[in-house]
């Protein structure tokens, strides 16, 4: 919609012309609001933690020490390595659960399902994505927890396994719908050409459609990882929330997001502990920012190529 506008020739500069200019400006201001908010999020979160981040924070200790002991009275330590390991282990298991199933589901919806079935399946996947994260957390507590205790004979069912499955189910609809878009974006002429060469449906999918859509599929997985990293309530409720370097999937762990959610309410505004939580916030913001940027870059690259 970028062509010069007919009334810009200037033959009637009446009231409507000024109204038009006014709204153009107004829409522009609202248009850049998303940019302002992203900048604002970075600035405000950074500003709240700035005193600590710039002065007393030891970056090596922050990133490399597994000891998160902010409330220790004689020597508070702020090391987030165990929290990173917690988040990473949960996200990893979630991806192990979600990626094969989501890609399989996406292939089924995009390549095999037709007409009404396809519509219904897409709606079901969409509804799956709508369930709030606090409800997922509650399911981890009330349904998965006793199930794991019973099935695996473990003392506690709030662990990586529980949280990974929950998070996998949460990430699956996102991965499925983005992967499905990527498969749909492969032109039908590719499929027709393969079929004309005598390939059957499966050969077409495995050797033509999947390679052509691989960038989009990769982006879908990346966005799923981003979701896993940023998820808060479900992880807080289902992970067990104890600081551990994880060794098995039956260990309880604590995630970065959950730490902020659990501790922020108990800290004094402006204290070192409070500012350290904002430092974790900046860390999370940076990681998800890069994940989203990479995913977008991969998708755009695949559209050009």
């Amino acid at each position: 919609m970028a062509q010069p506008h007919p009334t810009q020739s200037g033959d009637h500069l009446d009231g409507q012309w000024y109204v038009d200019k006014l709204f153009h400006g107004l829409m522009f201001l609202c248009g850049i609001s998303a940019v302002l908010f992203v900048l604002g999020i970075f600035l405000f979160v950074f500003a709240e933690g700035a005193g600590f981040i710039l002065k007393s924070l030891d970056w090596r200790q922050f990133l490399l020490s597994p000891r998160w002991m902010p409330t220790s009275s004689y020597n508070p330590t702020y090391g987030i390595l165990a929290l990173i390991a917690g988040t990473a282990s949960i996200t990893f298991l979630a991806m192990v659960v979600a990626v094969p199933f989501s890609l399989g589901a996406a292939i089924y919806i995009a390549e095999f399902a037709k007409g009404r079935t396809r519509e219904v399946l897409k709606i079901l996947i969409e509804l799956l994505a709508a369930i709030p994260s606090v409800v997922w957390g509650f399911i981890g507590l009330a349904i998965m927890n006793p199930w794991i205790i019973q099935t695996f004979d473990e003392p506690i069912g709030l662990n990586i396994l529980n949280c990974g499955i929950i998070l996998g189910l949460m990430a699956a609809p996102i991965i499925t719908s983005i992967a499905e878009d990527a498969l749909k974006a492969v032109p039908d002429t590719y499929r027709e050409a393969a079929e004309a060469l005598g390939a059957n449906r499966w050969q077409t999918i495995a050797q033509v459609v999947l390679p052509a859509a691989k960038n989009g599929l990769l982006a879908a997985v990346l966005l799923g990882v981003g979701r896993g990293f940023g998820e808060t309530m479900a992880v807080l409720m289902a992970s067990g929330h104890s600081i551990n370097m994880p060794e098995s999937i039956f260990d309880s762990v604590r995630a970065l997001t959950a730490t902020i959610a659990a501790e922020l309410g108990e800290t004094a505004v402006g204290s070192d502990h409070y500012q350290a939580l904002f430092a974790i916030g900046i860390f999370l913001f940076t990681i998800t920012f890069f994940i989203n940027m990479t995913a977008d870059w991969i998708i755009r690259g695949s559209k050009r190529g």
């Binding site: 609202c30 999020i41 709240e48 709030p132 994260s133 409800v135 509650f138 189910l169 059957n200």
Partner: protein
């Protein structure tokens, strides 16, 4: 690449095998969710009643209903709508009707929208606390929490509105411009009315999202328990999603059916909203005149 052979029995079987495999994978994604919803109904359904909706929690939140939390969620959603809908729709109008598609600024706005949707909800909470509660001195209140929710759900409104604006054919706009209308007159009287149902769909999805969010409102305006109802946007409030977190983790000796009923209520609200949005979209597709 492929040998030109007639479709033989073996190939057919392989194809069916894979089709079956992917079908099973899809089913395995959907079945747990249906099971979960069935369990919520089974264990919370009998507690969920009109009386449950309209009474206060009692006995240290181990009995009674959810009225203040339900009302609080409505407050939060309505106030966040008032902020995010005008802003989001206007941003979509700018992106769809004014911006040049390949301009660097448009590109940056699109990237920012993607990132805003990808920022973890707890980071939105930190932003809300730092910006609205402390910097703008709104204090922990419905207003601060709603504004945080509005920023978080803005991308939903922008993307849905942009899509429905783009679906209005260009010829509609051209016809209007040829009548001598300004760009704004065209948008207001031709483009917007034709995109309205689609925009409404986006708003319903925003409501569904905002009603279920917990982390962004935890430190900005929602509290575990209040003995009275909020009277203005500057009061603190209870909220359904936070209430579920509270009674399932923070309060001892809650009878099991209570959190199940709250979870069921939340899921019902969210699914109802989404079903409405889906119905709207189908209706829209059926009604399309072009």
């Amino acid at each position: 690449m492929f040998s030109a052979q007639p479709v033989n029995q073996h190939n057919r079987q392989v194809e069916w095998l894979f089709r079956l495999l992917f079908g099973i994978m899809l089913t395995l994604l959907i079945i747990p969710v249906l099971l979960i919803i069935a369990t919520l109904f089974h264990r919370g359904g009998s507690t969920l009643s009109l009386e449950f909706l309209f009474t206060f929690p009692s006995d240290g939140m181990t009995a009674g209903g959810v009225f203040p939390a339900l009302l609080g969620t409505i407050w939060l959603v309505v106030v966040s709508l008032l902020a995010s809908v005008p802003l989001g729709v206007a941003a979509a109008i700018y992106l769809s009707e004014y911006a040049r598609q390949e301009h660097w600024l448009t590109r940056i706005i699109n990237l920012a929208t993607i990132n805003l949707a990808g920022v973890p909800s707890i980071v939105h909470a930190l932003f809300g606390l730092g910006a609205f509660v402390l910097f703008f001195r709104i204090g922990t209140s419905i207003l601060a929490a709603s504004l945080t929710l509005a920023v978080m759900t803005l991308p939903v409104v922008i993307v849905a509105s942009w899509e429905s604006l783009q679906a209005v054919p260009r010829s509609f706009r051209e016809a209007c411009w040829n009548m001598g209308a300004t760009r704004w007159q065209t948008i207001r009287q031709v483009v917007l009315p034709n995109a309205l149902t689609g925009i409404l769909t986006g708003i319903i999805l925003q409501v569904s999202r905002a009603a279920g969010e917990t982390a962004p409102i935890m430190f900005t305006g929602a509290v575990f328990f209040l003995p009275f109802l909020p009277g203005s946007p500057f009061d603190q409030t209870m909220a359904l999603a936070l209430h579920l977190y509270t009674i399932s983790t923070q309060v001892p000796d809650v009878p099991e059916s209570l959190p199940f009923a709250v979870a069921l209520l939340l899921v019902c609200i969210v699914l109802l909203m989404n079903a409405t949005a889906i119905w709207f979209r189908m209706y829209l597709r059926g009604k399309k005149k072009w």
